[in-house]
């Protein structure tokens, strides 16, 4: 299974970025390969409109089965993510990616979106 995180940095110790559309990084953990890949999303800073859909499009291309984020995607982004078989867990802000993953495995995260 592939799990996407919105994060403020790279690696397991990075914190979950509460923002979806304007997240600094998207981290993808591939459980089968046991590999954590980071995608720099900071170019989104220069996007004035439609940051949510743009980040959602990236998520769509990366094709994870699970997304772990903070505040949750807004309406426009949600309309895109709906096209995917994606489980969205929210309110993980403040956790490290490592803790968020652990909480997900322990079924402690809140399903939203």
């Amino acid at each position: 299974m592939k799990i996407a995180f919105t994060a403020t940095g790279e690696g397991w110790d990075a914190l979950i970025d509460p923002r979806f559309g304007r997240t600094d990084y998207i981290l993808i953990y591939d459980e089968e390969k046991d590999e954590l890949v980071s995608i720099d999303n900071r170019e989104i800073m220069d996007v004035a409109h439609g940051a949510g859909p743009k980040t959602a499009q990236k998520i769509h291309e990366l094709d994870p089965q699970v997304l772990i984020t903070g505040n949750g995607p807004g309406g426009n982004a949600a309309s895109i993510l709906k096209q995917m078989q994606l489980k969205i867990y929210i309110k993980a802000s403040g956790m490290s990616v490592r803790d968020a993953y652990r909480s997900f495995k322990n079924n402690e995260l809140i399903l939203g979106g």
């Binding site: 409109h49 439609g50 859909p53 499009q57 426009n76 895109i80 096209q83």
Partner: protein
Amino acid sequence: MRLAIASGKGGTGKTTLAVNLAIKAKEKQSCLLVDLDVEEPNGGIFVQGDLVAEHEARRAIPDWDAAACTLCGKCPSWCLYNALIKLGDTILVMPNLCHSCYACSEMCPASALAMKPDSLGTITHRRFEGLDFVESRLEIGLEQASPLISQSLAYIDEHLEKHDLQILDSPPGTACAMVSAVKQADFVILISEPTPFGLHDLKLAVQTVRELGIPFGAVINRDGIGNDEIYGYLKEEKIPLLAKIPHQRRIAELYSQGAMLYKEIAEIDEALEDILSYIGRLR
């Protein structure tokens, strides 16, 4: 004379001033009041009157034709607002982000993005004791205030006879909607209150109106609260202070009853007189 009443900060008395000024002005001249605070028009709470006309405002958004589309993927890169997203073999149109610029529709090599009409809001024309009142109301859930405001002003130019005085009740803030409402005005009244927040947002509004190159003056509402920094600022910037409206409990009581304030409060009547005579001298 087209007069826009605007503010940086919300809740400083735009509608109160616009409505009272319009009702008082129409005693001596032909007057049109336009509520352009399209996301929450509330002039109609104070001014009802008889319905003259109702106009459905529409906008155009692209409609993706899956059969015609070659999935070349160019359209998302043309859209400044990211209203088009390519997802695999689908083009998704996000109506909430679309600004109806027609770029995708015009440039699509396969003509797969024809523009189709969509509802935007309602423009209502009423007449209240000799005052023409136009209310512009954005459809609930939509975000495109500016196109509706532009359409409302075009509607007035096309369908209503010329009035001596047009008063535009503008949206709050200093973003696109406010700019759309004030940019065609001959004069702008910026109404604020003497608080740090009121001053901060007045400065933003002053910058905006200066950038647009429209003459303007200030009205200070709730005089007596906060501090007098705002008066120092107006003086320093040589911004004419057209009137002050005092902070009084009685005003809030009358307002909550939907009453015309200038008929009951002498200070407001004087303030309106001052504003109208200032505007009169500009002609």
